[in-house]
């Protein structure tokens, strides 16, 4: 393919507009993922907790937006001082958007569009947590946790890498669109939450018996997965951060393809595996497979070939099929499978960049571990603090009757008889 001739270079103003447009399109696509998580989770919980899951999702998306403006963005992009270790910093807050009609053409894009795009990533992190700890956390402590997660815990991780801090400058860590920064961060917060909060009442019987609580509405969960898949084109594609050159837009296109193929690989592998292992193809595993494929490719969706992308995503499918029951072995109750999908596949996706991308295995491992330590510790502190102050769980009776009655007062499907 030819180098781009002079005449084909786009002018600065045009590039600025196109870069900004990429953020806006990517931004609204990732915003839409909030609906995807809401539907996925609403479909996989029992009907008595569905309204609660709905309010948690619209609430967390809102809180994430507010907190990322108040302080989150300023922690994520502190502008680390020359020579600082790059572990923590805060720039002026709340974040000052641009004035009307103003445009900082030096960045090459509108700062508000960038902020918007960054914000929706922050919200994604919180969505991950809500799925794992569903059906047994009261809404007030949940929203408090989300507030801390989106104001501080997540932004600190971002600052290490995308904010040019420690992981970026010292370790050359590479995480294109956030397999670790977003997905593992959400995953660790979810895992620690699941452990501290404990399993749902009746979930694990004596002698290792797992009581199955089937999701109440499979088409809703399917819809959620399709929404997330769609949103992921924004998530990964717009993480190219620029569309103002011929090369950039071509790379965005390649990212679209690789992202799609990794998800496809995850679906097909999950279907084949469950069909072979269990003689039936578990639809919830197929859905999780798509998401695990997507998370797996997120750390490096540009460099791999299509074949590699399918393989990377396919391994994501393997991960969910084996990790979902494994967590049950450890009595870690992950309602929607967010830990396999976001945490384990996120780690896998991050490490494999050592081969497909521009990173070292050690650098990637350091990134994974540092994130693990920080997010787990910080989350544990918050969850424990909540547990021993206002409490995180409803009474057992309230839990058995469903959070919708106890916390919301609005049943999700009031007219349909339960069988």
């Amino acid at each position: 393919m030819a180098a781009v001739p002079d005449a084909e270079v786009v002018a600065g103003g045009t590039a600025y507009i196109l870069n900004t447009l990429l953020f806006l399109i990517g931004g609204f696509l990732v915003m839409w993922m909030a609906a995807g998580f809401a539907m996925l989770e609403a479909g996989l919980v029992r009907s008595k907790n569905t309204s609660t899951q709905c309010i948690k999702n619209i609430g967390l998306y809102s809180i994430a937006g507010l907190m990322f403006w108040v302080i989150g963005y300023s922690i994520a992009y502190p502008g680390f001082a020359e020579g600082s270790l790059g572990l923590f910093g805060v720039s002026g807050f709340p974040y000052e958007m641009q004035a009307v009609g103003a445009a900082d053409t030096e960045t090459g894009y509108s700062v508000a569009s960038d902020w918007f795009f960054q914000m929706v990533f922050c919200a994604t992190t919180a969505s991950i947590v809500s799925g794992t700890v569903a059906e047994r956390v009261k809404i007030v402590p949940f929203f408090i946790f989300v507030t801390v997660l989106t104001a501080v815990i997540y932004p600190v991780v971002v600052s290490w890498e995308w904010g040019g801090g420690y992981l970026d400058s010292v370790w050359g860590f590479s995480d294109f669109a956030g397999s670790t920064l977003v997905h593992s961060t959400g995953g660790w917060a979810a895992l620690v939450g699941a452990i501290i909060i404990g399993a749902r009442v009746g979930r694990y019987g004596p002698d290792g018996k797992v009581n199955v609580f089937p999701g109440a509405n499979i088409p809703l969960a399917t819809l959620g997965t399709f929404i997330l898949w769609l949103g992921w084109f924004g998530f990964n594609g717009a993480s190219q951060l620029a569309m103002g050159t011929v090369g950039d837009v071509s790379d965005v296109s390649k990212i679209f393809v690789n992202t799609n193929m990794a998800a496809a690989g995850g679906v097909v592998v999950a279907i084949i595996l469950t069909q072979v292992l269990y003689k039936k193809a578990d639809v919830t595993m197929a859905l999780n497979g798509a998401l695990a494929g997507l998370v797996s490719i997120t750390a490096e969706p540009l460099a791999p070939s299509v074949g590699q992308s399918i393989l990377i995503g396919g391994v994501g499918g393997v991960i969910v099929v084996f990790a979902v029951p494994m967590l049950d072995k450890f009595k870690i109750d992950d309602v929607v499978g967010a830990i396999p999908v976001h945490l384990i596949a996120g780690i896998w996706g991050t490490l494999i960049v050592a081969w497909t991308g521009d990173a070292t295995f050690v650098g990637q491992l350091v990134g994974v571990l540092l994130t693990a330590v920080w997010v787990s510790l910080a989350s544990a502190v918050v969850w424990l603090a909540l547990k021993y102050t206002i409490g995180v769980r409803p009474s057992e009776e309230d839990e058995v009757n469903g959070l919708d009655r106890a916390e919301i007062g609005v049943e999700a499907y009031p007219e349909f008889a339960r069988s």
Binding site: N211, V212, P214, K280, D282, M285, D328, S419
Partner: protein, 112 residues
């Protein structure tokens, strides 16, 4: 009069209703129930965890019938709902002390 309660397999409902119609049963009341009995549900695997659905979907018929035809009703149901497979269901007969038609207030066998 008798009050007949039959538990049958759902897919037999239409057939049974037609058979009963042909022997002169003009009305019945139907509901969805779950049955627990000798017939065991399949073992399913959901997200890697086994579970067996030992409550199986059944249909319950309630039929008030005059003493004359009660036996015939039972026989008809027994024959029509029969698939010779476990879980085909049961027919219970209770004595019915009185029956009233709400619309007219008439009672007894004419109310059926």
């Amino acid at each position: 009069m008798k009050f007949i309660i039959a538990i049958i397999k759902p897919f037999k409902l239409d057939e049974v209703r037609e058979a009963l119609g042909s022997i002169g049963v003009a009305g019945m009341t139907v509901s969805e129930v779950k049955g627990f009995g000798r017939q065991k549900g399949q073992t399913e695997i959901y997200r890697g965890a086994e579970y067996s659905t030992n409550m199986l979907p059944k249909v319950k018929l309630e039929i008030a019938a005059s003493d004359d035809i009660a036996a015939q009703v039972v026989e008809t149901i027994q024959q029509t709902a029969n698939t010779e497979a476990i879980g085909d269901g049961k027919i219970f007969v209770l004595d019915l002390a009185s029956a009233t038609r709400i619309r007219t207030g008439e009672s007894g066998e004419t109310a059926l």
